[in-house]
């Protein structure tokens, strides 16, 4: 009796061991791919897009690498997804989370081959993850009370984050910048308020955090290039042709003179608007939309600096730094809050002219100008800095910190090992496996730095046997060292997110016993 096909053409079904195999292999392949970028001596990857122009990205940011991959294996997609979430949620640890999930699955594979049921593995992993988290919680350091110490904690975290990136040469410089920028946000996590301007030329060391605000726009012709004690009106209004918005209105005339009249009226209207704007007593006008020549001329006549086409974020940031409100109607000049700043001037960075607002009132937003040899360097620098900023802004809210350099993993591994010894039954094997997966992270860090990982990790384990030890891998000197002395710190939030989402992802993949792939949707040939 022939069994009719149940699925549509091209759909496939994989079951049991084969399905599990397919997902293990996919997940481990992805983990191995990003493994070599882990740690301070991690390597970079070149990503070449297949799109037009074959644009090239050089990066060692796990999330960026995985985002650009075209992956067909569903289990691998789960890993890509957790890395993306890690990026959105805490900003750093995007590589670690994938590597840890990959290691957990690698260990799980061994357990499955030795005939332990996936559900047992999951139960063990859960217990282990819980225990590991408690172990971290016991050892966190919280310096929120002590502002000075907290700042130095942040500095250290920023330096630790940056040391694995392209900015590691000037990590102190950049760490300083990042910490300053984050402190300016005053506890908000809205990183949009930090503008990163990339200008090729110069070296990375020339990058700076501006105490004021920089807008990447040009000043209109014939308008003052320098204004002191500026009163700024930040606006979002049409300054091209201010059309009648009532639906269905149209101009219909029967003679040329009338056309001229209407045109005159339109001009008059624009003039009115400009006058109203000028009535605010401003000397600088920033608009989100275009400003046409005619109003621009009017502004120039009045000696007002008019800046057109500042984008949405630019406007918002400007509103934040200068304290002005974003206006769209101009009938009540007395009650509109204007922005203020001491000095507006045109500055040159490299070959580009930018507008610089200094001496601002609120200073909640700020600008970081990155300089560097090429676009690739700048892009990577931006990503690195973004990672650091994310971690810092999260740490400001959750001030618990941990030591870095493989220290947290070793602490967790030790506790988990102890739990394994106490647990009876098959779960004990899986808990042990969890601890092995944790140790894989310091091993990878050491491997990537070209060190003798087996030796170092064994040393580290011995060191950790004593209570309250601060030992971790010091990649620079290539030996086990005291992390507290070397100032290598990591945010607790990052580590916790890595641990939990890696376990969650591993659990998810382990639970699968069948993969059903639908036929790919047929696309219209666009040839």
């Amino acid at each position: 009796m022939p069994i009719d096909k149940i699925f549509k053409d091209d759909a496939s079904e994989e079951k049991g061991e084969r399905a599990r195999m397919a997902s293990f292999i996919g997940a481990m392949a992805v983990a191995d791919l990003v493994k070599s970028t882990l740690g301070p001596k991690g390597m970079d990857k070149i990503l070449q897009s297949t799109g037009r122009g074959h644009s090239v990205t050089v990066t060692n940011d796990g999330a960026t690498i995985l985002k650009s991959l075209h992956i067909d294996n569903p289990a691998a997609k789960v890993l890509v997804d957790i890395s993306k979430v890690q990026d959105d949620e805490v900003g750093d640890g995007t590589t670690s989370v994938v590597v840890l999930a990959g290691e957990l699955l690698r260990e799980a594979e061994k357990l499955v081959t030795s005939k332990i049921h996936p559900m047992t593995i999951i139960a063990g992993y859960r217990m282990a993850a819980e225990c590991a988290r408690d172990a971290l919680l016991k050892r966190v350091i919280d310096n929120k009370e002590n502002a000075e110490k907290f700042r130095s904690d942040l500095m250290k975290i920023a330096m630790t984050t940056l040391c694995s990136k392209i900015l590691s040469q000037d990590k102190e410089h950049f760490a300083e910048m990042a910490v300053d920028a984050v402190f300016r946000l005053k506890g908000s996590t809205n990183l949009e308020a930090i503008q990163i301007i990339k200008k090729p030329g110069g070296s990375l060391r020339d990058s700076f955090l501006d105490e004021g605000f920089i807008l990447d726009k040009k000043i209109g012709i014939g308008q003052p290039k320098r204004i002191e004690n500026a009163k700024i009106l930040v606006a979002n209004t049409a300054m091209d042709t201010d059309k009648v918005k009532i639906y269905g209105a149209r101009v219909r005339v029967d003679s040329m003179t009338k056309v001229a009249q209407i045109e005159g009226a339109e001009k008059e209207k624009m003039k009115d608007k400009v006058n109203k704007i000028l009535a605010h007593g401003i000397n600088c006008f920033v608009n989100r939309q275009l400003i046409y020549n005619f109003p621009e001329e009017l502004f120039a006549d009045a000696g007002v600096l008019a800046i057109e086409h500042a984008d949405f974020e630019g406007i918002e940031r400007l509103g934040l730094v200068t304290g002005g409100e974003i206006a769209s109607t101009f009938d009540n000049p007395e009650s509109v809050k204007l922005g203020h700043c001491k000095l507006i001037e045109e500055i040159m960075i490299g070959e580009d002219k930018l507008i610089h607002f200094s001496g601002v009132e609120m200073g909640q937003a700020c600008s970081i100008v990155l300089r560097g040899a090429s676009h690739h360097v700048l892009d990577e620098a931006e990503r690195s800095l973004h990672d650091a900023l994310c971690v810092l802004s999260q740490t400001v809210n959750d001030s618990r910190v941990l030591l870095g350099g493989g220290w947290p993993e070793m602490v967790m591994a030790k506790e988990v090992d102890e739990l394994a010894r106490k647990t009876a039954g098959k779960k004990s094997h899986t808990i042990e496996a969890f601890s092995r997966a944790l140790v894989a992270i310091p091993t990878t860090i050491a491997d990537n730095a070209g060190l003798d990982s087996a030796e170092l990790v064994a040393q580290l384990r011995a060191e950790h046997h004593t209570e309250g030890c601060n030992a971790g891998i010091d990649v620079i000197s290539g030996a086990v060292g005291d992390m507290e002395e070397r100032g290598i710190y990591e945010a607790f939030k990052v580590k916790q997110a890595v641990l939990l989402s890696a376990t969650e992802a591993a659990e998810m993949i382990l639970r699968v016993d069948e993969i059903i792939t639908c036929a790919p949707r047929r696309r219209e040939d666009r040839m």
């Binding site: 559900m119 009648v244 009532i246 269905g248 974003i326 802004s393 998810m508």
Partner: protein, 580 residues
């Protein structure tokens, strides 16, 4: 050609009789092609009719391109297809059930063990398989839980039916036997069901039931907290006097990031939107909310019209009007005392600024469903025109605040402490997108279970206990029926055993050994509460393990599965396009 078929119908040989009816039922415009070679057609076993002169003619259009299965072959093929679908789901049953990973046509990945979802996304082609998909879906709509169980049940019934067919029992007799047996089973369930006592202050039993549902999902790590959330949500919106729950009032919102433990129940509404103007206040206490479905834009009459501007004066007046219009709109909202405007449509830049200027925070582009929920929660009225705004129509909320998440610019609006807390939101957090989706599905199941219990307080015990009890009852009843149906009824009893069997199998127990042990225990002690000990707790007594299911859910499972199996058994002819 149908007509042609009719005109010749008197002369049909009897063997082609059924095929003729099929031709009519299919309502295909068949083009009669007088075939030349009679032997060729007979070799293809196609429906072939001969008129009085012995000329063959064809009833199905392009019939040489169709494959056809008839009689027992058709039933066997259908049963095989149904079984194949059930086989896929079988391993997902129970607390130790595994998940399926489904890759959609666009490469999107879903990981789930919810039967309805698996079948829905499976991209099934076979007609019978589609029936099974429908089966699971109707269980989902009706009950919301037990979607896997119903398919496994149907698969087992089909498997048993196949054996009966092999014995030479006519499919209709099998179907009838099943029908009788299902009646017995449902009645027996009613008998063994227990009333289940809970009230608003003591909802622990409800939580226990929801935990049973959640324990088979990936979220079983925090089943306790999720079950509590689900029960609280249902109780918040339940109308306990009318014994009804409108699940539409529970909004399930998910956001990637954080942990599952951070999932929370909000007595209010969560909207995935932020304030229309970045400088509006982020927190409003004692908000009076104007809920509008009209845009802050110039009027758009629905009739087609044109305003012609031909003089300067007209241009001027129109301009004035426009300004005035915006001003009036905002002023109206302000006049009635609104402190927050929630609008379904967009805002013009100018209106937006006016709102902000007059210190009237506003939210735009809020979806219709959300708008309704907000209206229900805050006790406000949805106002379609500015003219109709009155202070009574405003909704009230104790606190409205904007909260940002993670490092990306994502904000959500919490509307809390509402005047009428009849609408609630369950806000799910989780490590990745698939996790959130699966949690949503699991919570939905738990909500449905809680709702069913409020509607009908009867429960039966889970872990296969109810199925085993039914199986015993049906087996005992079988002997009372004279006739061939007796065998079908016994087969039904056997099929009922397959659910506990699958449970035991998935939990890594010896299926036959475990089942027979439990069965004899039930029979010996005459207590229908013994089931499969899936979690290795050490007792078979489901009362101790607190594993229940709703009575209506179980009854529905049996009835739906029987219905579908009957339908499949009644098909004796399958015509499909053959591969070419």
């Amino acid at each position: 050609a149908d007509l042609l078929g009719f005109s010749h119908s008197n002369h049909f040989r009897s063997e082609t009789h059924s095929s003729f009816f099929l031709a009519v039922r299919e309502k295909k415009k068949t083009r009669s092609e007088l075939g030349s070679d009679r032997g060729k057609f007979e070799a293809r076993k196609m429906a072939l009719a001969f008129d009085e002169f012995g000329r063959p003619f064809i009833i199905l259009r392009e019939q040489d391109q169709k494959t056809r299965l008839r009689g027992i072959d058709a039933q066997k093929a259908n049963i095989a297809a149904g079984k194949a679908v059930a086989r896929i789901l079988r391993s997902s049953l129970g607390p130790k059930g595994m998940d399926k990973m489904l890759q959609g046509p666009d490469g999107d990945v879903t990981i789930t063990n919810d039967g309805a979802t698996i079948l829905e996304q499976m991209d099934v082609d076979n007609q019978i398989a589609k029936l099974m998909v429908e089966l699971s879906r109707s269980q989902d709509y009706e009950i919301g839980d037990g979607t896997t169980g119903v398919v496994v049940m149907a698969g087992a019934l089909l498997e048993q039916a196949e054996r009966q067919l092999d014995r030479g029992i006519h499919p209709i007799r099998v179907a009838e036997g099943y029908e009788m047996a299902s009646r017995v089973a449902v009645e027996h369930l009613e008998r063994i069901s227990q009333k289940f006592e809970f009230d608003v202050n003591n909802f622990e039993p409800l939580v226990q039931t929801c935990m049973t549902t959640l324990s088979s999902k990936i979220v079983n790590r925090c089943k306790r907290s999720l079950a509590e959330i689900a029960v609280k949500a249902v109780l918040a919106v339940a109308d306990l006097e009318r014994r009804d729950v409108n699940l539409d009032l529970i909004k399930i919102e998910g956001k990637v990031g954080g942990n599952l433990e951070d999932t929370e129940l909000i007595y209010g509404i969560l909207v995935d939107k932020d304030m229309s103007h970045p400088q509006m206040p982020k927190q409003i206490e004692d908000a009076h909310i104007a809920i509008l479905t009209c845009p802050f834009e110039p009027p758009k009459p629905k009739t087609k019209h044109k305003v012609d501007i031909d003089t300067v004066e007209k241009f001027e007046t129109l301009r004035k009007q426009e300004q005035q219009y915006f001003d009036e709109m905002v002023q109206k909202c302000k006049d009635v005392g609104a402190t927050l405007v929630i609008c379904q449509w967009g805002f013009d830049d100018e209106a937006n600024h006016l709102l902000m200027h007059r210190n009237l925070p506003a939210v735009r582009w809020v979806g219709g469903v959300e708008l309704e929920l907000i209206a229900i929660a805050t006790g406000g009225r949805i106002v379609p025109r500015f003219q109709e705004l009155t202070p009574e129509k405003l909704g009230k909320a104790g606190m409205v605040r904007e909260k940002s998440f993670g490092t990306t610019k994502e904000r959500m609006l919490y509307i809390e402490h509402c005047a009428n807390s009849k609408a609630v939101t369950i806000f799910i957090r989780g490590g990745n997108k698939m996790m959130i989706d699966e949690t949503k599905r699991s919570i939905h199941d738990a909500l449905c279970v809680a709702r069913n219990l409020i509607r009908n307080k009867s429960i039966v015990y889970g872990g296969g206990a109810a199925e085993i009890a039914c199986s015993l009852a049906v087996d005992a009843a079988a002997d009372k029926y004279p006739g061939v149906e007796q065998y079908a009824i016994r087969a039904f009893a056997e099929a009922l055993d397959s659910v506990p069997m699958a449970l035991a199998e998935n939990s890594g127990l010896q299926p036959i050994e475990t089942l027979s042990a439990v069965k004899s225990q039930q029979l010996k002690e005459n207590i229908p509460f013994y089931g499969i000990d899936c979690n290795d707790v050490g007792t078979n007594d489901m009362r101790e393990q607190n594993v229940f299911e709703t009575l209506i859910g179980k009854q529905q499972q049996i009835l739906l599965a029987t219905q579908v199996v009957k339908m499949i058994l009644k098909i004796d002819d399958v015509i499909s396009n053959s591969e070419y």
